[in-house]
């Protein structure tokens, strides 16, 4: 009998080891170590809600607010990296239909756990960003769509919202500016697909998380066929800093194309896995050595998954020579994505890694479009029989053609999230597959460790 809604007695952030590391540049996570920063008074003492006051009390008109965000050239932190300012600008100005702002906190990309830090430690920063965003697109109502498994984070955000209501930052006529706004926490129920923009909208409409056909785009016809903007938690958390310090200050940080800082959630074979906020453009080599404490056990880096499981893989040389921003990673054939970095050392068997990912995508495919529903299942079956039963050479060609015929052939990009990595593994690590073909690989499927060198 699962009874979980009421039994949290001492609500406190669970994820705690956030000591700042050299090389980090903490804009959002500046006060994350302050005890009880998740409560309103402590957050206000650290300068919280100044941006909201600045926007609402001066009744800043919506055009300049959107221009400010566009000026900062901040890009979406959820995975697509779409400039947030433009997204806000697409919302039609003069429709009588209600507008909605949805915060995408359904963080289920394997390797990504950065949103959790904001949700548990800095919920008010996100709430402040959401109110400013709602003001910019005239949204009367906004929803925080948190993944169902984050029960702790849901409690914390729920209480933060109640505090915001009591403090007058939410509800009717906020800070006397005439702008009234409702905010609701909506719990997901365990589906990776609801992280996709239109999948989240379908889930919020009480349906299966099936992505919607685009066109029409959500900015024109999203939640309940009304204009909707879906932003990631981290993107919304950047907004208060931008309003407080101005767009130029934000644009100066990081590289011209990928401005500001990015929170990286590092896991895998590093000595200190965790969440770090670094300036965009920092070379990966420094990030690995200084911030993450180098490879665990002094091992050699074999491969890097930079931006979560849907990012194509990078060889060690590519990783060492790239800098952490959208353009450099893209030039190496991968993508920054959600910043869920998984570091793989030389003891890992990459075919097993790919098989595990294929299992994930087969389980999480929503089953709406045929290429993805059948393709993910097929890729996983091929990889399963390639590793467990008999490896065949034509499997490689089959993997290649199947993936090529899944990319760009579906309503959402889940099919691409497995097809592109498969192509990158085949192209960049053919040796791994050759081991299987010669039958010389004896890896344990338990944890993908290659047994022979311990």
């Amino acid at each position: 009998m699962i009874k979980h809604t009421q039994h949290y007695k001492n609500i406190r952030p669970m994820y705690v080891d956030l000591t700042p590391q050299p090389g980090e540049k903490r804009l959002l996570m500046e006060h994350v170590q302050v005890p009880n920063i998740h409560t309103l008074p402590v957050y206000e003492s650290k300068g919280g809600y100044q941006a909201l006051k600045k926007v609402l009390e001066s009744k800043m008109d919506r055009e300049t607010l959107i221009k400010e965000v566009q000026g900062s050239a901040v890009r979406g932190r959820g995975g697509a990296g779409f400039p947030t300012g433009n997204k806000w600008n697409f919302v039609p100005k003069n429709t009588d239909k209600p507008h909605y702002l949805l915060c995408n906190a359904d963080e289920s990309e394997p390797g990504t756990f950065k949103d959790r830090v904001i949700l548990e430690h800095l919920p008010h920063m996100m709430i402040e960003g959401m109110i400013i965003g709602s003001y910019a697109i005239q949204a009367a109502r906004s929803y925080v769509y948190i993944r169902g498994e984050y029960t702790y984070a849901t409690e914390i955000v729920d209480r933060a919202i109640q505090e915001a209501y009591k403090a007058g930052y939410l509800g009717k006529n906020i800070l006397g500016s005439g702008f009234d706004h409702e905010m609701v926490v909506h719990r997901g129920a365990g589906a990776y697909i609801c992280g996709e923009e239109t999948g989240l909208i379908s889930s919020l409409e009480g349906k299966k998380g099936w992505p919607k056909l685009k066109p029409p785009f959500p900015a024109v016809e999203g939640y309940l066929r009304c204009p909707t903007v879906v932003n990631n938690v981290e993107t919304l958390a950047c907004v208060p800093w931008i309003i407080n310090h101005g767009a130029e200050a934000y644009a100066k940080i990081g590289t011209p194309k990928s401005t500001g800082t990015k929170m990286w959630s590092v896991s895998g074979d590093v000595t200190r896995p965790g969440v770090y906020e670094v300036e965009n453009g920092i070379p990966f080599k420094d990030f690995l050595e200084k911030v993450c404490g180098g490879m665990k056990g002094g091992r050699k880096l074999k491969a890097l998954i930079p931006g979560g499981s849907s990012a194509p893989i990078m060889t060690a040389e590519e990783a060492m020579s790239c800098t952490l921003d959208y353009e450099s990673i893209a030039s190496k054939g991968s993508m920054l994505g959600s910043g869920g970095m998984v570091v793989l050392d030389d003891s890992r068997d990459l075919v097993q890694v790919l098989k595990n990912l294929a299992e994930f995508y087969r389980e999480e495919s929503c089953g709406q479009c045929t290429p993805c529903r059948e393709g993910t299942g097929w890729l996983e079956k091929i990889l399963h029989s390639f590793t467990e039963r008999q490896a065949r050479r034509e499997d490689l060609q089959l993997l290649k053609t199947t993936s090529q015929n899944m990319i760009g052939r579906t309503i959402c990009v889940l099919a691409d999230s497995i097809a592109m990595p498969v192509l990158s593994y085949l192209e960049k690590f053919p040796g791994e597959f050759e081991n299987y073909l010669q039958g010389s690989s004896n890896t344990s499927s338990m944890s993908g460790r290659v047994k022979h060198n311990g």
Binding site: A191, R362, R373, E374, G408
Partner: protein
Amino acid sequence: MAKVKINGKDFEVPTGQNLVDAAENLGIDIPHYCYHPGLSIAGQCRMCYVEQPGNSKLQIACNMKCSDGLEVITDSPKVKDAVKWSLEFHLINHPIDCPICDQAGECGLQDYYMEVGKYSSEMREHKQIKQKAVDLGEKIVLDKERCILCGRCVRFTQEVSKTSELGIYNRGDRSVIGTVNDEVMKDNYQVNTVDICPVGALTSKDFRFEQRVWFLKEVSSVCNGCSAGCNIDTHHKSGKHIYRLKPRYNPEVNEYWMCDDGRPTYKTANYDHRLTAAKLGGVELPTNEAVTTWMNDLRTLIATERTDEIAAWIHPDLTSEEITSIVKTLRDEFGISQFYSEDADKSARDDKTVDQLLKRADLWCNTQGFLKVTSALKLKLGSLNQLEERLAQAKINHLVIFGSEKNVGVQSLKRIRAALPADCFTVLISPRLQNAELFSHSLAIPSISHYEKNGTIMNWKKIEQKLGSDFRMFKSAWSVEEILTSLSQEYQRPQKEVSRA
């Protein structure tokens, strides 16, 4: 009208029309499974790929509306390869059931496999195993393995019949179609899902294993179940046996759908329900002889000006042509004045839609046509009670009964049978065996069933509808017009004196 460029050629199509429909009307076939003109757009099956010049990513055509300047290419090699691979994805988990599947011959996968596929599958792994032959009530059998999850039936139950009994459960390639816990479906339009299902996942129990579709020929007709007048196609095998009815698109009357009560109406046309030979008191005789014996009795009455002793019973199921030929021959030529029929006015007055889609309360299929023709020909019609009284007073010596093939007319025939005096010479003209058994002592002449007729009937919206069948199931069963014309020819021929039997 929008100017559209498809495959390099310019076309004029109504603006806003769906690209798949527009292309189909122009003879360009864009493969599609989940798109159905009567349902919402799903965009799931990813078969309707088209390439737009200047956009490397292939677009799906079913989500495109025709607008001015739209330019698409449907037969470039890139599109062909993409569609071939979409079909491959459909087929990798599809069971090889063609020998035992009723849909073989009209299955979407087979059609496009022949058009676009034509290769050997590269799938070596095990296919997904799902439930087969699930019983969804007494009308439908569901096979979850064959289902390609296009979602047409689910959208149909949600948008058209509004019972939302079907759903797609689970996720990914474990998704299955079905009702909750495979309960029985109570929807009165569920057999429509069998028609729109592109594969053999949903098959109708009534047609299960009956016949292979490539043996069947189809003929356009109209359902005689009720006054809605849904346009249908009658599927028959070389005119010998009718196997099923399928709805035909008609925007004003029934769009793409048809109710389940109209489906089994073809059964009354098949052998076991039909009067196949003329009978006189139980003895079979050729139809022309039956007509002559009828004429002999009629002739004596006409010759001795006792035409008021002759009565005729008609019903609104007759087509307008049949009624006109009855009136022309019996009334104008023979001078019979007493005509009785079902109360068409009453059934027209309290006719209303039974459910919110198609089914009507009035079970006669040509009520409006009957009223129009009888008023045009100024035919004086008596009611059933008046006929019973006159029969009771033995004023009628000669009764001509036109029996309908449906149950709805049997009630009044029974009352006539009860009121019939012994010496009255009755002639029954009906396709139905049960009516002939009812009047076993009298002369019974087999007429053709509704699905062999060629006349016009009018539905409750006063829309003229043509019955276009071109086959006759039994040589001995003539159409009403043929019977009456041979009757009048018999009348003209100089007759040697025959004493009245």
